[in-house]
């Protein structure tokens, strides 16, 4: 079956465009801000949204997203709360795909099938579980697939070709290429290395490739847009939320809006070139 994510990529491709996928942590800086921020990001040019599910032990995240998760968990934002946010978001937006990104334990605690049912019914499109490689995904992938939820896997610079087939078989929607060895929001990425690696994995992978980790400015986004089908930005936005976390939503949006425009125009420039 063709999913909302497939359709989005088909449409973007027809228009010669690269997707911009911003990430925010659900519940950051406070639970009642999230849905409005999601709509705002779409308004500012997001083609899809990545919504982080807070987990107490985010071992693949750098300090910026760790702190975002801590802010959300101060409000006890749970997986159920995140699904409720997506449900409310869908009341006004039935087009923009929403990808949940997080760690396995909250999902495992809920139960794979129960989670898949709930996620599908509120309008989630895909799930990316950082600490769930294809090898351990028995049961989980089937449960998601049964509800037509896309399964996004990470591929990294260290992923050997031999592991890519499993991503083709078990994954769907797109592949998230981790542009560097490190945690989210790490040091500068190496553009030449990303180009080489994306070319390598692109030979085997049968899905669009989104590039994320370490994309902090328009210039980098411009280069990544020339290499991948989607550009994923997280820590660069979340650090703006952090700097403005105790301010009115209006002020947070003002600051976020500037950064989103920087990314959007850089990507559009790359697409036009």
């Amino acid at each position: 079956m063709t999913t909302r994510i497939d359709n989005t990529f088909v449409k973007l491709k027809a228009d010669g465009k690269t997707a911009l996928i911003p990430y925010i942590t659900a519940g950051d800086p406070r639970p009642n801000a999230t849905v409005q921020l999601m709509h705002f990001l779409v308004e500012k040019g997001a083609d899809m949204l990545e919504l982080g599910v807070p987990f107490s032990d985010p071992m693949a995240d750098g300090p910026v997203i760790q702190k975002a998760v801590e802010r959300a968990l101060e409000h006890n934002v749970s997986l159920d709360d995140v699904l409720e946010m997506v449900r409310v978001f869908r009341e006004k937006d039935s087009e923009t795909p929403v990808i949940l990104m997080g760690y396995l334990n909250p999902v495992e605690h809920e139960g794979y099938e129960s989670f898949a049912n709930a996620a599908s019914s509120v309008g989630v499109d895909a799930v990316l579980t950082v600490d769930m490689p294809p090898e351990e995904s028995m049961g989980y992938m089937e449960a998601l697939q049964a509800k037509d939820l896309d399964r996004v896997f990470l591929v990294s610079p260290t992923t050997p070709d031999s592991r890519l087939e499993a991503v083709n078989t078990k994954g769907s929607g797109f592949v998230y290429y981790v542009s560097l060895k490190g945690v989210t929001g790490s040091k500068e990425l190496d553009v030449d290395d990303v180009a080489k690696q994306v070319a390598r994995i692109g030979e085997t992978l049968n899905q669009p490739i989104g590039i994320g980790f370490g994309i902090r400015d328009g210039e980098t986004a411009y280069k990544m847009a020339q290499l991948g089908d989607a550009v994923i930005v997280g820590s660069a936005l979340v650090s703006i939320i952090e700097a403005n976390h105790d301010k009115d939503l209006y002020e947070i949006e003002l600051a976020l809006g500037n950064k989103m425009s920087e990314f959007r125009s850089a990507i559009d420039r790359a697409d036009a070139s």
Partner: protein, 401 residues
């Protein structure tokens, strides 16, 4: 049904439903490389000889099996033997594992070692082997633990290691593990992560267990020599569970041996302020493996409490979860006060100052031994010495030094 315990984990690291490899993609290739290297050396005569030589000449093995006669008579029941891991170089069982992993690091050509530590014993043992091999060493330690285990922090620094105080989360062992994982993801090319317990993604739980089984292998020979028969009971404290699995594993097929793993009950199991996932927790996924965890109704990992930093962890090695489910090991709990009493008892009756971790096992023996007869025997794993705990103990006992 008889279980062949030597056949676990399976090739993907599963102990029944537990264990496995729940790691970020960036680490998968490194874990596979480690797994292949470990598989290729674990039955290799030259590697095992090198390991045995290090354990003998550097660590000081075999460690004695000591009959605690005065204390046994005081308790008036079974004869209690102490497996003296506290007499190892660096003062705990942790070095058995770091010696082994350091040999692997060398074979893999890694120039940098990282480790997480709670009580600091694993940190010291890692810094020690790093110094010996001339490798860079970074140890992650929860900021709270840096304070309560200050003597070990000083030792690590003296050995040339960099100690990073982890301020995130609950500022204890689990957060140190998160931070070490983040370091490893970033520096995976040149860095070897020496995990200190039988947890983490495969192959760590199996590999660390194998390096620690020297404890039980020696203890089994020693008790047969001294008593002419197997022990009736084994007792060890369980945080991540490496000293416990080290003692237990070679005895698992011996059905006559009752095995007790002692979790820390902290302020009391009913208070929620403890670190006893096997008794009070539910299965989940954390730090690369599926195991019993202390978690809330939303699957968030809960804060823990134990008087002993080395047991202050919300998870446990996956093999223990499985041994609980199949019923081979009895998991029991000892609270902070009972552990302190165990600490005092061993110190006063035997002149041996135990680590607060090991004091949990001591305290359980004071309950179990009197229910047994004088011709029965217990082996306690005295996993570490208590020098590192002087700050904590002085505070509780109200003296200054």
């Amino acid at each position: 049904m008889t279980i062949d315990f030597s056949q676990f984990p399976d090739k993907n690291g599963h102990f029944g439903p537990y264990g496995g490899i729940f790691a970020p993609e960036t680490l998968m290739a490194a874990l596979e490389q480690l797994n292949q290297e470990y598989e290729s050396v674990k039955n290799d005569a030259a590697f095992l000889e090198e390991l045995a030589q290090d354990l003998r000449d550097y660590v000081g093995r075999p460690s004695p099996l000591y009959y605690a006669e005065r204390w046994s008579k005081e308790l008036g029941g079974a004869k209690i033997y102490l497996k003296r891991e506290d007499l190892n170089h660096t003062g705990a069982h942790k070095v058995n594992n770091t010696i082994g992993q350091a040999l692997l690091a060398k074979r893999l050509g890694k120039t940098r070692i990282i480790a997480e530590t709670g009580a600091g014993q694993h940190g010291v043992a890692s810094a020690t082997v790093a110094a010996r091999l001339g490798l860079e060493c970074v140890v992650y330690m929860g900021a709270d633990d840096v304070v309560r285990q200050a003597p070990n922090v000083a030792r690590m620094k003296m050995l040339g290691a960099k100690v990073v105080a982890v301020e995130s989360g609950s500022r204890t062992l689990k957060d140190a593990l998160n931070e070490a994982m983040r370091d490893w993801v970033t520096n995976v090319d040149d860095t070897f992560y020496i995990i200190g317990t039988v947890a983490g993604p495969h192959p760590y739980p199996a590999m660390v267990r194998d390096f620690q089984t020297v404890i039980g292998r020696e203890a089994r020979e020693q008790i047969l020599e001294k008593e002419g028969k197997l022990p009736d009971a084994l007792i060890a404290c369980v945080g991540g569970g490496s000293n416990a699995i080290g003692l237990f594993h070679k005895f698992l097929p011996d059905e006559s041996v009752n095995i007790y793993g002692v979790e820390p009950a902290g302020h009391g199991l009913e208070t929620g302020q403890h670190a006893a996932p096997l008794i009070k927790g539910t299965p989940g996924v954390l730090h690369g493996n599926r195991t019993y965890l202390m978690q809330d109704e939303n699957g968030q990992i809960q804060g823990t409490h134990s008087i002993s930093a080395g047991l202050d962890y919300p998870g446990v090695g996956p093999e223990h979860s499985w041994l609980k489910d199949v019923g081979r090991v009895n998991y029991v709990a000892i609270d902070d006060e009972e552990a302190m009493q165990g600490f005092r008892d061993l110190t006063r009756f035997e002149g041996i100052i135990p680590a607060l971790e090991s004091s949990h096992a001591i305290a359980y023996a004071t309950k179990l031994a009197p229910t047994m007869t004088k011709d029965q025997t217990i082996i306690i794993n005295l996993s570490g010495r208590g020098d590192k705990d002087m700050n904590t103990v002085a505070q509780i006992e109200g003296f200054e030094f």
